[in-house]
Symmetry: C2
Subunit: 486 residues, 2 copies
Amino acid sequence: MNNLSARGPAIDRRSLLASGALAAVAVSATGATDAVAQGDPEILDVIIVGAGLAGLTAARDLDRAGNNSFAVLEARDRVGGRVLNHRLAGGHFSEAGGQWIGPGQTAIADLARELEVETFDSIYDGRMVFRWGSDRVAFESDGSIEIEAGLMKRLDALAAQVPHDRPWTAPNARELDRMSIAQWLARQNVGGLDLLTMKIASVLTVGSGIGNCSMLYYLSMLNFAGGFQRLEAQKGGAQQTRFVGGSQVLADKMADELGAKVQLGTAVKAIRNWDRDIVELETTKGRLRARRIIMALSPPLCRKIAFAPALPDARRALQDRWPAHAPMCKSAMAYKRPFWFDEGYNGQILSADGPLIWAYDNSPPQQEIGVINAFLRVGEVSPDHETAKRQLTRLFAESLDDDRFLVPTEFHLHDWGQEEWSVSCVSPMPPGLLTSPLMAALDEPCGRLCWSGTETGGIWNGYMDGAVRSGRKAALETLQALRAEA
Amino acid sequence: MNNLSARGPAIDRRSLLASGALAAVAVSATGATDAVAQGDPEILDVIIVGAGLAGLTAARDLDRAGNNSFAVLEARDRVGGRVLNHRLAGGHFSEAGGQWIGPGQTAIADLARELEVETFDSIYDGRMVFRWGSDRVAFESDGSIEIEAGLMKRLDALAAQVPHDRPWTAPNARELDRMSIAQWLARQNVGGLDLLTMKIASVLTVGSGIGNCSMLYYLSMLNFAGGFQRLEAQKGGAQQTRFVGGSQVLADKMADELGAKVQLGTAVKAIRNWDRDIVELETTKGRLRARRIIMALSPPLCRKIAFAPALPDARRALQDRWPAHAPMCKSAMAYKRPFWFDEGYNGQILSADGPLIWAYDNSPPQQEIGVINAFLRVGEVSPDHETAKRQLTRLFAESLDDDRFLVPTEFHLHDWGQEEWSVSCVSPMPPGLLTSPLMAALDEPCGRLCWSGTETGGIWNGYMDGAVRSGRKAALETLQALRAEA
């Protein structure tokens, strides 16, 4: 769990700058909090809460618009939110959070283009291993996901009828939302390898077992992706393409451009007067005031903030019911070389049980070192770093018959469920929530608060792409709101 | 030249709506023009001049921001600007203007994703014909452009040193800008087939012969594209991917969303008081007033508008020197089937002289009909429709030894140099302009005027992608400007 940040010296520099900037706008803790006239230099136009991809994109657009009166507050001592580069020796990285993009994820692709971050394709051709119980088989993979053709056709046909931005309008929306993925699969008499595959796909894609997630929600994801392979596969799917330098480089580059406007280590404790002209934020580094607030964080994370007056009932209920603490844990094992390619393996293991869900090659583009990343079952992997390392390296050595896996040069483990400032990773929407009237509160502004974050992205919600979309939209809406009230 | 518009009934509906909307905001021609108080319903927040991709994207973003106080004025009776679908029988289309996207054109790819416009790849594998004088050769093409490896390497290395958004800062910028592409090629002793290829590439990509375009400008294009193949090739290049329904569908969809806010057949004749709080526009349909103007049209097209007070000297000089009337003419020949594929041809002819520059397959994605598009040399092709048709169909029949080319089901010709409201297609920047101080006037706002259009895109200037970027930026800057002055 050490070495969470890949930013190193850059953080120190920014922290220094930030503390100066903060002092300039902070209101004395004992000072008056009355609304003051527009033009007061201590009142910012916009405060953005959260320096993940959504908040930073919103900030970048405010900056591009020419607005100079904003700050981004970030509770952590790093930017990126659920996007995080583990720093490896030799200047390499391995992503502990969101990392891939694929076809149709055009908003983040465009951001990367503008930031001049290059992409490269994941390596997925080769022999991979599928494990269940004490059995295992090795087979040749081309990066697509094998399920029975009829099942895939039924999923895709059903998904085509579920508009991702308003799934509650789909035919039989209520029925599909009452059902878990597991219940739908059972009705379709799906069993055997297909059921195992769907179980693994579900836990990786929606962040929960097939019994906990609404079928309607899964269909809405298939809809925005454009079908099963587009959502679940590497080849031609959402796990196809990686960023040179690791995905966090996008956040780092935006933060570097924004300089002192990004204030790290600044947690928002309370938001007062959000229904009035001037909103007051109480943070761990003092009080700040602004005309508009962009809330660039997930709904459950908003629970950590005390709102006065209280938020509307529907918004509070939505935040309470939104899935949080969905366990998602990733590991990275580094080796001197990606020697598994020499043996014809692609570095992948899929496992129906035990600590490992899915492991895959995550070596840098030039393969100067070898890296295997893995998604893990939180309850099955040891929370102890050394024990977990032994569990996973042995599992690899055994599955691929190669003792070289036993001695990684580095091993990292990251449990997102334990993160104070993320609460969770993706959002396994429980049955019933998507068709409840509470969903209207997801992006309905409350007074001066504009709700952002990947959950509000409209397309590719829950993905980096959705975060970028939500940030762009928040910037536009907030600029217009400032204009309208002026 | 007939059937310029693919919109048909949609235009009539919009025109009706537009005339109503126009009446609601138009100021009587004899009425007072004094600036009035903010809040006057007759004063719009924003008027966007030009309903090409730039103007429509800006309008779409204002709309998404929640701004309701804007109009898009378009001189033509259609939207799309330099993007135009020729309507073919059977509901098919063939593009007469900008039509492809490729790697790195992420802004337009993202717009297409949001508008749910699908893409498909051009067909380029197969035998093609190269003609010069009375000679011709057929060879197998894979969609890349063949030039000598050393030449390509030198071009790419030089381009890597020319920042596309500030080419005047490149090493030897002045020297490279004084030189035409032809002069640079001569210094490199490029001759033979390479010189022919560069001549054809130049006229297609920059819209002029190699003698008329600045080498620095060409290098800046190679820079934003990411290299020679990325700029010039079909496979992996800027001519790789097409839009289902034709590229104009992007403009049509945005216009449909904007409804009566797009006012067709409304040419702006004069812009007064652009240096004051309320700007007045005199149009062919009456006077309009707004606080901010987005000028979403090319620099030379701005010459058609009378500005009072006169624009700053540098801006006027830039508009005067900007390349206009660069001849670019496209034809479309339709057939019952793309029979050329049966014979192993990809439908392409490259010609170093004569009326044809480059012809290529432009059939619809399902190939229900066959279409050959061609870029033509304006001075060499007959301006008479029937004669031009005979010239081109004979050239094809002869080059591909197939008399079926002689009897197309349809033939269209479109000369962009003759367009009243485009003036030109792409911008072959003459030597010296890019390093002149005038370039600062390209996007430097003048009073309440924000300059937009693909020429200001920053990345992929001159392409559809640059237009989208420029529109997005104009919306952000204009919203902020409204906020700042309020």
